[in-house]
Symmetry: C2
Subunit: 489 residues, 2 copies
């Protein structure tokens, strides 16, 4: 039986099973499960039911994967060893700073699945209430890098980029990789799939080429083309990060120290040496003021320097979505339109990509200071970026066209006026209700920009859905969600 | 199907069920389950299995109980409403103090089962890293009282007692109730069952009389006899406390503010007006120094005064177990031996009970200052305490004799010398491995006291077990646990 539990190893056993009784295992306690030479620690729930045979164990996906076993395999279940690293968490709760060894022990046990939600939340909360010091952030970052795998590249300079918090539709990554690689830089980009958003960079890229590359294929693509856009999920780079992020999302908190450790550990593990950080600032973005952005940038840069990582932070407009599409296929169309210099290409996406790519080119030594953005635009205009992108896609397994949704419905303005506000969160929710990212063709195509005049009856958004049911859900939400965009007469 | 999950409402559904798909429910998210007019919020896990029918839901015990439904009932499952009170937790994480309204909202949602382990742990950790202020402790205590039921008594003075942290075998409660009631005080004692210890007061009392009393019967016993020792678990007094305690135990933390709110909310909800707090101090006790005990006492007293609760704290010896028995029946035998003035009665239990009862008598106005302890001893010596206890047991449903274990084995000293240390935690573990509290007759009977001389081969402890298997477990542990008592030549 497979139990879906998002990175949490879980075991179900009957309350009356012999092992539970003789070992004294109780429900909602941690157990150690061993199969041959592999083991995983799991949360045990006991059931009263014939669903399971007397001495049978049901496991969650993560537990199956960690043990590498098949249905019907024999496992041992017993009390786990004492969780020594929890002493560090307890001391941190009471205000004692953590050292390198504490962090190594904590992060190691987290990745081995030995921390429960209660333990994880306590660690993250304690380091939010008494924020991580720069030293602690460095220790945590190093521990997160060391516990996972690490990619290495033959090039002396390896560039990368990251966008803090994310904006709907802000799909600059494929464009930046194409521009950087077209100008001779090495940019092996690993990206994530959507977790709560309507599309992750990997989801969007997958509309254009395969992204689930093995490490060998990844290295081949980068060796021949200088860049790639692959899914990083299978690569075990900073595996603690995924676990921390899940808990932070559940709390809806985001602390600076954890953010820095999260971003830098992924980049260092991916083998980057020069990284551009895009920090969108806006009322519904993660960073809401210039001061907050500058403080974050200063701490990011200081921490990065301890790892020999060169960093450049860009402050960008986070007040509205980027491009038109929100959803894997719709965002991929925006990317293609910019690369192919189509007349209807979204200008804002093109400009943002050029700005980020310009910083990458300068930081990586492919452009003189102040000339990166112009070189980036010229790389797009000349078709060299599109040519490079097509070659990267071919190397990843073949360029393809994004799918088209079966159903498209407009939302029209009920009054004329000027667009004064766009709610990014509601737009994301709408795109997800329409089916994104599970249905790759689904999502929304936004036709309104801040400051634009709009007339009564004018479509300001198109909903794309694969099924009538999902379209109905999205329309229902649009009717009752309050203002998604605000129009002032 | 019943899933055991210790106060956590959980739902299992098939990943491919129609409701999950159309509502967009994902695994490990919270769902709202409604049956008729009752509802509960639960953690959803999705499974791939024929164990459940397509649109069937399996629930944990707490979810069943909250909904009050039977197997086969029809329920609705959907997204829960937004958890507004979490905004308060988030602000507290970042250091803003909480007010009365915040606490009411948080505690209310906790009791409604809307907080996940991640949320609960964050709240408790934030209030440990930046400790609860006295004001916050008062707000939290009040919110915890108000969210549950509250007992009321006709008497103007209602006495109670509490022991902080607990010591193995420290079963003074039945003795104190008997002494207080014999001297005309009203002492309606509600106690808990063991959670991680070898016996709770309710488990021990159950060896002597029924403890699972309804509210009507409880009031009848108290009206006729002045006192009772009943199980408080069914009474919904400060229900948030049980939830917080479970999470604190998982973290193995114990913060002063939470401890104060926990103790006082239970006492206030039980209708007490005058409370004696026994604070054992010792190297393996919860409170390890006189200074820590005095600080706790000062904060307890200040907080209690805001609720019109009169408090008296006693500092007692927490360096070794009290009495001989550890385990429900063995502790009940110690209680009986003291009440019946048997020659082999454990003197330390008698003395501690007299000291606590003396404070209760003085605080409740049944003895002049400085004369309580003497009155308590005299109440025991004269047989009046035993007579009152027998009447209370009869009113609760009938006095009975504790059971005797089927197997008894001695542990003998391997060398002669003086007992210089006793490890309370290892003793508790040993008693549990022998079967306590599930097997009420099981446990240990300790025959060594600190400072006593012991000869080689002398039995210093007797193991009591119901089955050969459990006896073998306990013996195995005793052989490998290192020093349970330390003997110096």
């Amino acid at each position: 039986m497979r139990l879906h539990a998002q990175h949490q190893p879980i075991a179900l056993m009957r309350a009356d099973c012999h092992v539970c009784r003789s070992e004294g295992l109780s429900s909602r306690s941690q157990v150690l499960i061993t199969a041959d030479d592999r083991q995983v620690q799991a949360l045990l729930y006991q059931i009263d039911s014939e669903m399971l045979a007397q001495d049978e164990v049901a496991l969650s996906e993560d537990a199956w994967d960690a043990l590498g076993i098949a249905d019907g395999a024999v496992v041992q279940v017993r009390h786990p060893p004492v969780l020594e690293s929890l002493a560090g968490v307890r001391q941190r709760i009471y205000g004692r700073r953590l050292g390198q060894e504490d962090m190594v022990a904590i992060v190691g046990d987290v990745v081995r699945g030995r921390y429960t939600d209660v333990h994880l939340s306590a660690f993250l909360t304690a380091t939010a209430t008494l924020p991580l010091s720069i030293d602690e952030t460095i220790f945590l970052t190093r521990a997160m890098v060391d516990v996972g795998d690490r990619l290495s590249w033959e090039a002396p300079i390896v560039v990368d980029k990251h966008c803090v918090g994310g904006l709907p539709g802000n799909r600059t990554t494929p464009l930046v990789v194409a521009i950087a690689a077209a100008n001779g830089l090495v940019m092996p980009k690993t990206s994530s799939r959507a977790i709560t958003s309507p599309a992750g960079t990997a989801d969007t890229m997958e509309m254009l080429a395969p992204v689930d590359l093995g490490i060998e294929q990844l290295q081949h693509v980068v060796r021949t083309e200088g860049g790639c856009v692959a899914w990083g999920g299978a690569m075990h780079l900073s595996p603690a990060d995924d676990i921390f992020v899940r808990v932070e999302r559940e709390l809806d908190i985001d602390t600076e120290g954890q953010l820095i450790a999260s971003v830098l550990s992924k980049k260092i593990a991916a083998g980057a040496t020069h990284v551009v950080i895009d920090i969108p600032i806006g009322p519904t973005a993660k960073i809401r003021s210039r001061e907050a952005a500058e403080r974050l940038a200063a701490h990011l840069t200081e921490t990065a320097s301890h790892f020999g990582l060169a960093l450049r932070c860009l402050y960008t407009d986070g007040s509205q979505p980027v491009g038109r599409g929100i959803g894997p296929a719709l965002e991929a169309r925006d990317v293609l339109a910019v690369l192919r210099n189509e007349p209807a290409r979204p200008q804002d996406l093109r400009e943002r990509a050029a700005r980020v790519a310009g910083a990458v080119l300068e930081l990586g030594g492919a452009a003189l200071a102040g000339q990166g953005e112009a070189l980036a635009l010229q790389t797009l205009d000349s078709g060299r970026a599109w040519e490079k992108f097509a070659r990267i896609c071919a190397a990843q397994g073949g360029l393809r066209e994004p799918p088209q949704a079966a159903h498209i419905e407009p939302l029209v303005a009920l009054q004329a006026g000027r667009v004064v506000h766009i709610d990014n969160r509601k737009l994301s929710r709408l795109a997800k209700l329409a089916g994104a990212p599970e249905r790759p063709a689904a999502g929304v195509s936004l036709r309104a920009r801040l400051g634009e005049e709009i007339s009564r009856g004018q479509p300001w958004l198109f909903l794309h859905a694969q099924t009538r049911g999902e379209m109905a859900y999205a329309l229902e939400y649009a009717r009752h969600a309050g203002d998604i965009i605000t129009i002032e007469a």
